[in-house]
């Protein structure tokens, strides 16, 4: 049955991939079920929580809201593509060091949203970090340590005097 679907091709973390799945299958499910890239999580399944955030052609998107046919020919980046040769991405390192992850469900989405933010704006203000992560919900770590992780990864941030500055 599966061979009946036409091939849909795209690039995931630099590798060409082809899947034969229904065109309306969600990119999220294709990543997790067909490509076994289970780093991308499903939270709400309606574009509210950001757990399924990936980058598509350099844009942050909720993969639960992308029918896979719309990803045809696109370059997809998932959390699995952040580390290289076993070395953590600076954001992953910062999340570890600052306690930016607790249960971990929101973390891949947080990392992708933060990656997207720093790609656009290497030294964001706290307000810009808050806006960049506004679509990503955490229900255990708390947002302060996550913001601190992003600040640490960015090295510095405009108008920010120290890691605990905004917590007061």
């Amino acid at each position: 049955m599966s061979a009946d679907w036409p091939a849909i091709r795209f690039i995931v973390n630099g590798e060409s991939r082809a899947v034969r799945v229904p065109a309306m299958k969600r990119l999220l499910d294709v990543l997790r079920e067909d490509l076994r890239l289970t780093g991308t999580k499903e939270g709400c399944g309606e574009g509210e929580c950001g757990s399924c955030s990936v980058r598509m052609n350099g844009e942050l998107v909720n993969s639960c809201l992308v029918p896979v046919l719309q990803a045809e020919g696109a370059e997809i980046e998932t959390v699995e593509g952040l580390s290289s040769n076993g070395a953590l991405h600076p954001l992953q390192q910062a999340f570890l060091e600052c306690g930016g992850a607790q249960c971990g469900i929101c973390t891949p989405g947080m990392l992708m949203a933060a990656t997207h933010l720093l790609a656009r704006n290497p030294h964001p203000s706290l307000a810009e970090i808050r806006e960049g992560l506004a679509g990503n919900l955490c229900r255990c770590t708390g947002f302060i340590r996550i913001f601190e992780s992003v600040i640490a990864a960015a090295g510095s941030t405009r108008g920010h005097r120290g890691p605990a500055d905004h917590a007061r």
Partner: protein
């Protein structure tokens, strides 16, 4: 219940002519899908009725913002991220960029399109009050040609509009004549990001020789569809902004608003907050020095 992707057909013809030909072949049978921020939510929940969908995503002829001498022409496929990033548009018609910044969060803004927001026709649509306040027109296209309709006449009922079954929204025409107008947009909702409006008001007004010469009020969640507040406008047109005219305009708004009770708010709250928003705008307008 979970949606079943095998139960839906999705085509991506890749260009406008091919999409229009498909719509013309069997009018009403195909549902256009752009960034999926509405339809994919329904799909995931197993309540997407449309069985045949045609993708508008990635069609370059629909995703643009063009500056002309007297207007901006915004492609229906422009995303809210595109609109926020357009410096000239944001400087001249700032309410559009402001509304765009309210749509969900970054990931939603990168996919949700202005055409999708308007055609979907939610009474609470974030972009609608600004589009009403700016007196925009929408350009519709089918194999039969194009036509333009005032956006204020586009919606005809709850989630109903003037589009024929074989038509698409192609673009929004926004006039560039608001430099001297006082402009206002405020949304009241539970949270700045990711929240659907309880009520929102967009407004533009021109005060000349001490009197309101031109005023447009566009409201979300005060009627079954985004709508101008014509009675409140009429109470202000040609008048001085005084405590008395403000009070009259607010009571006209209370009289013409037709909000509902739902999970986000109550009709009573919406009516009164709507009137408060109008009052806030008019107090600002009244303080403005007369040129």
């Amino acid at each position: 219940m979970r949606g079943n992707p095998e139960a839906h057909e999705l085509l991506a013809p890749g260009n406008l002519a091919a999409v229009l030909a498909l719509l013309a072949e069997s009018p009403g049978e195909w549902t256009p899908i752009a960034g999926g921020t509405e339809l994919m939510v329904a799909h995931a929940a197993g309540r997407l009725d449309a069985k045949k969908l045609v993708s508008l995503w990635g069609i370059a002829e629909m995703r643009f913002t063009r500056s002309e001498a007297d207007r901006f022409v915004i492609g229906a496929g422009a995303t809210f991220g595109d609109l926020r990033a357009h410096a000239e548009l944001a400087a001249e018609l700032p309410l559009i960029a402001k509304a765009a910044s309210w749509i969900g969060a970054i990931a939603n803004q990168n996919r949700a399109t202005i055409g999708g927001n308007l055609v979907n026709g939610s009474p609470a649509a974030d972009s609608s009050p600004a589009m009403l306040a700016y007196d925009t027109e929408v350009e519709l296209i089918s194999v039969r040609g194009t036509r333009r309709v005032a956006y204020s006449a586009f919606h005809t009922g709850y989630k109903r509009n003037v589009l024929a079954p074989d038509e698409l929204m192609l673009a929004i025409h926004a006039p560039r004549r608001f430099a001297k107008h006082r402009q206002y947009l405020r949304k009241v909702g539970p949270r700045r990001a990711m929240a659907i409006a309880k009520v929102a008001l967009g407004a533009t007004a021109l005060v000349e020789n001490g009197a309101v010469n031109e005023i447009r009020l566009g409201a979300a969640s005060l009627a079954p569809f985004p709508t101008r507040l014509h009675k409140a406008e009429a109470a202000l047109q040609g008048r001085q902004v005084t405590a008395e005219t403000i009070e009259t305009a607010c009571s006209e708004l209370l009289a013409e608003a037709r909000p509902i009770d739902d999970i986000r708010s109550t009709a009573e709250y919406r009516r009164h907050v709507g009137a408060n928003l109008l009052k806030e705008f008019l107090l600002e307008l009244g303080r403005e020095p007369v040129p």
